[in-house]
Symmetry: C2
Subunit: 217 residues, 2 copies
DNA sequence: CCTGGAATTCATCATGCGATGAGTTTTGCG
DNA sequence: CGCAAAACTCATCGCATGATGAATTCCAGG
């Protein structure tokens, strides 16, 4: 099962190769011009982690994709772990969002949640972060635990406060499991026609399922 | 993110260590007594692949767990790929099962599918095979492709024939995505209370969702 | 009983990985 | 201007992995 045509086999070459063979070009030392290398590295890392998961995304590959030596990643981030965490760092506070989306007419809660989630997964940065998490959690207990903790304290707990239904935690988690499964089927496994389906077409079907879990006892 | 306390960190020691330091014990060569070593190896492999996924399950670890030298696995199966496939080989014909479960009263199709699926995942051998596939497909495009093909030709296509609803493929795949997501949340991420929930308690909630996808236009 | 083949292990190779430390070049502060 | 710190690369280490080939031991057919 060697690498043959993996996901993310896009030969990403970001910022390298703007050097003519004219000047002999010293290779080592600080670069002129304050390029935001750190940001470039983080973007390359995010893409690589999303496409291959933590273990298969090598420091060397990330470095190459960022047009940089691998040792530089260690210079900036120390270890691969810390680069991973830095690449996945998410700016928003999920508790707030959960509150906003769940609050409101209970008869249309399915529509609102479905629309919000589908739109989230359409944004490339968010999608990459979530794909990296999902792909990694599948075989890395440490990251699975991270995800479990995040879900429980940042999503389930606030949601259970907002919802006033029996088995709120279980039902909300079943709803989340549908989201996770949709992501797996659509983006990881890529089964058709689901993988290419228009989000707008998915929305009502997903909405009905969410509605079943979060309302209508 | 080194190995710290991964899933499947059970220190499996299957058949090794029944040798006293009494006799000097020659270590090489064929063993006396026709033990079914091949079967032992396959079981160890299945457990390891299920717990860690293809790439993290090392030949050496599988061999150790089977109480055998790693070279023996190559003797029997050639490559790691082929051992993986041999360990996952499934005896039943899914097309038949799909037909049986889907046929019948359309008003209770959700119950039947939910019951069948939940029972499938309760059987350890089936669960191990599916977990190995799922964990591996997350980061291995080759296996993802295998799974995609299997789903399409063995599950979706037969199901679409049986069901006479619009968007049959899409709806059936959404149903499957709920199954996959449930497995991820329950067995891989292990979020509570879902992970420890009684299958009997899950059944009606899952049934309702399935019913929504496969019936009730 | 003898012999060929199957079962099993040992020693070893090449490869890719994360990490480290030393060296070089540029920036920016005083 | 001078110089310390930051940015950046090179060479290299140690480790784990999948794979291979030779060597050893046992079983079964003649």
């Amino acid at each position: 099962m060697g690498r043959a045509a993996g996901p993310g086999d896009n030969d990403r070459v970001t910022s390298a190769e703007q050097q003519q063979p004219e000047t002999p070009r010293k290779r080592t030392g600080r670069r002129p011009g304050g390029a935001d290398t750190r940001r470039t590295v983080l973007e390359a890392a995010r893409a690589e982690f999303a496409a291959r998961g933590y273990e298969k995304a090598s420091m060397r590959a990330i470095a190459r994709s960022a047009g940089v030596d691998a040792a530089l990643l260690h210079h900036y981030f120390g270890t691969k772990d810390r680069l991973f965490l830095a690449a996945l760092e998410v700016p928003i506070d999920p508790r707030v969002v959960v509150g906003q989306v769940l609050a409101g007419d209970r008869a249309t809660i399915g529509e609102r949640v479905a629309a919000f989630v589908l739109q989230l997964w359409e944004q490339p940065e968010t999608r990459d972060r979530m794909l990296a998490l999902l792909r990694t959690a599948a075989t890395n207990e440490q990251v699975a635990q991270l995800m479990r903790g995040f879900m429980t304290t940042e999503l389930v707990a606030p949601a259970a406060v907002e919802l006033d239904i029996p088995q709120a935690e279980l039902r909300f988690e079943l709803m989340m499991s549908q989201i996770v499964g949709l992501a797996m089927a659509r983006y990881v496994i890529g089964v058709e026609p689901l993988a290419s389906a228009d989000p707008a077409g998915l929305a009502p079907l997903l909405a009905r399922t969410v509605q079943g879990y979060l309302a209508e006892g």
